[in-house]
Symmetry: C2
Subunit: 370 residues, 2 copies
């Protein structure tokens, strides 16, 4: 038997915590009264076990359970189902962490193929931090998005991605948007010599996403973005398996924040093979604390039994003025994603991008001389 | 142009509510500063609009937005992305409701094919409430699960479903479990004359689920269960489209409760064509209020521009003693799902099931004479 160590945070009165812990262990495993289970081996091998209940303060308790890996197998959707399926319906409970044994890690995906190192190599970045931006707003036709992609690439950016809101809309369907933007970036990279990558956003069913990946490969692209909380983690797992040469960035859309700890999501997304994890940086337009951001970056990067590092991508309402501070915070093992405040430069987009790129490159040189 | 009316609940100080509402309207549409958008038609046709900000009390505000249907198209995953994608990362914000225009409703799925009426017809139930139970615990081999299915069916139950935790585990893989349980239910229905339906739980990627549906059809089954929050709503939409004869029950696993209002999820799941919505009944082992449960049932049943009603399925820690009260609460347009407390009867499972079934049938007769 092997087990997953799972941690939840529960808000309830101290006198109720132990009973609630037992109830969660049942809910996330056999889901029926243990006394009604006739087979003793199910109570030993399948029933979740309460390892510890610790008081964290006032009405907050850390609950540590062991869940049997035998209930999960190799499917990442089933992993989520057993970690938090029914228990997500309790609004006083948060899923905080999960430590999987090595065998489960391998079975569930074994981590990124490209990851931090591969995403750096794609753009000849050496050991510096990476730069990225986004194509928006929604409503622009393909040729306008392509014009923006061209300007970003002329500025020497590393990755330029579709806004996660770009999908299969009438104003810019995938099969018109992606060839237009890919061609624009090819033209720019021929001029700059820098291998800027265009990253289309994938959306829809697994079938739809596969067709989008076909177009992406046809255009000579090798990097794509998915939103695992919308596509479903089992489908992400399948995509990663069958597209070996493609690096995948994970977008946090619909991933919530209040119920599953963001660093755990980063850890699970890395585990199934996503190469980069986008998340809202502290001090931007989302409420993540600097501590949460530090933990997300650590979940992407920390050594984990031979699993490759994923690339942390802080984003969301960042300005050029903050670049040095952000680089000081994350160091060079990160990609800075700045969208709106570059796009606000209008006709000066390439120059503003070049200034962003230059700041990041210079910071790397300063670091290496320090 | 057509628009979706969306309602959020936001916890913040009264002085901040209007600015937050504008920020959410931007986040869920163009996602960049409006002043940096050069094309006036994007501000008119694509930018989300704040319709109203109402104070609900203390620090709670209702925000009503209009989001352009043009940003969504016909994909249900993209609908979730635009309703709550990035904004789900704000832990003070809840998505409460969304009203779609008729054209979007049709494009996104148009609702159940079987629905309440079809699920009643499958089991010759007339206008009474339906009965259901679940096969568990995890860890049982296929032949033991089949024995339980046989006992439930002998008791005359309408639907017997896999526990949502049953997936592709070594102890009971789908391709062995489903034929065994289907055969057991066939044997029982030959004896009882009541057309009990066995409902396998689908899991994994869209590919895996399709293969499971192939086995399901091969066994002559016509009803299946999915967890839309795990499989992904775009994939559910695709499954529904391509499996016309199959009725789908929606399981709430991983659907949370604190961030997207459960009645809205019921409404969206019905919209894409799911035929029944399982949810935790009030007073069981989950914290849903009776008012939330009433709203979920209403979201499944309420007239909605020609869209068929879905079947409300209250579940979760219900006992036989509560059956009359539950029937009084939901009336006959519901399916009562009782699992653990029937399974706890052990060797008396068929008799306990028959007593449950009898209670529901008698209640319907009393109602019709009232």
């Amino acid at each position: 038997m092997s087990w997953i160590d799972v941690t939840y945070h529960l808000r309830c009165e101290a006198g109720e915590a132990a009973a609630r812990a037992r109830a969660i262990a049942i809910e996330q495993s056999i889901e029926m009264p243990p006394e009604a289970v006739a087979r003793p081996e199910i109570l030993a091998d399948t029933l979740g076990q309460v390892e510890a209940v610790e008081t964290l303060g006032a009405d907050l308790h850390a609950i540590r359970l062991r869940l049997a890996t035998g209930t999960i197998g190799a499917d990442a959707g089933q992993l989520l189902n057993m970690l938090f399926g029914n228990s997500s319906l309790h609004d006083d409970l948060t899923l905080v962490d999960a430590d999987l044994p090595a065998g489960s890690k391998r079975a569930l995906g074994g981590g990124p193929r490209a990851g931090l190192a591969g995403l750096r190599a794609r753009v000849d970045a050496g050991a510096r931090a990476l730069t990225a931006s986004a194509l928006k707003p929604q409503g622009l036709p393909p040729e306008e998005l392509a014009r923006l992609a061209h300007a970003f690439a002329l500025g020497g950016i590393d990755y330029v991605k579709d806004d996660h809101g770009l999908a299969q809309q009438g104003f810019s369907p995938f099969h018109r948007r992606v060839p237009a933007c890919a061609a624009a970036v090819r033209r720019a990279t021929a001029a700059t010599g820098h291998p800027t990558r265009y990253v289309p956003s994938l959306s829809g069913s697994l079938d739809a996403v596969r067709e989008q990946l076909r177009i992406l490969r046809e255009e000579g692209l090798d990097t794509a973005m998915v939103a695992p909380a919308i596509l479903g983690l089992s489908n992400v797992q399948q995509l990663v398996r069958e597209h070996e040469g493609v690096a995948f960035l994970a977008h946090p859309s619909l991933a919530g924040a209040a119920r599953i700890a963001p660093p755990l999501l980063a850890k699970l997304w890395r585990l199934v093979g996503l190469d980069a994890v986008i998340f809202p940086n502290h001090g931007g337009r989302f409420g993540y604390s600097s501590e949460t951001c530090r933990q997300i970056a650590a979940a992407a990067l920390a050594p984990s039994g031979g699993i490759a590092a994923a690339l942390p991508v802080p984003a969301g309402g960042m300005s050029l003025a903050r670049v040095p501070e952000i680089l000081d915070f994350y160091g060079n093992e990160a990609m800075l994603l700045i969208g709106g405040s570059l796009l606000a430069e209008g006709e000066r987009l390439s120059q503003a991008t070049a200034a962003f790129v230059d700041q990041v490159h210079r910071h790397a040189r300063t670091e290496s001389h320090a």
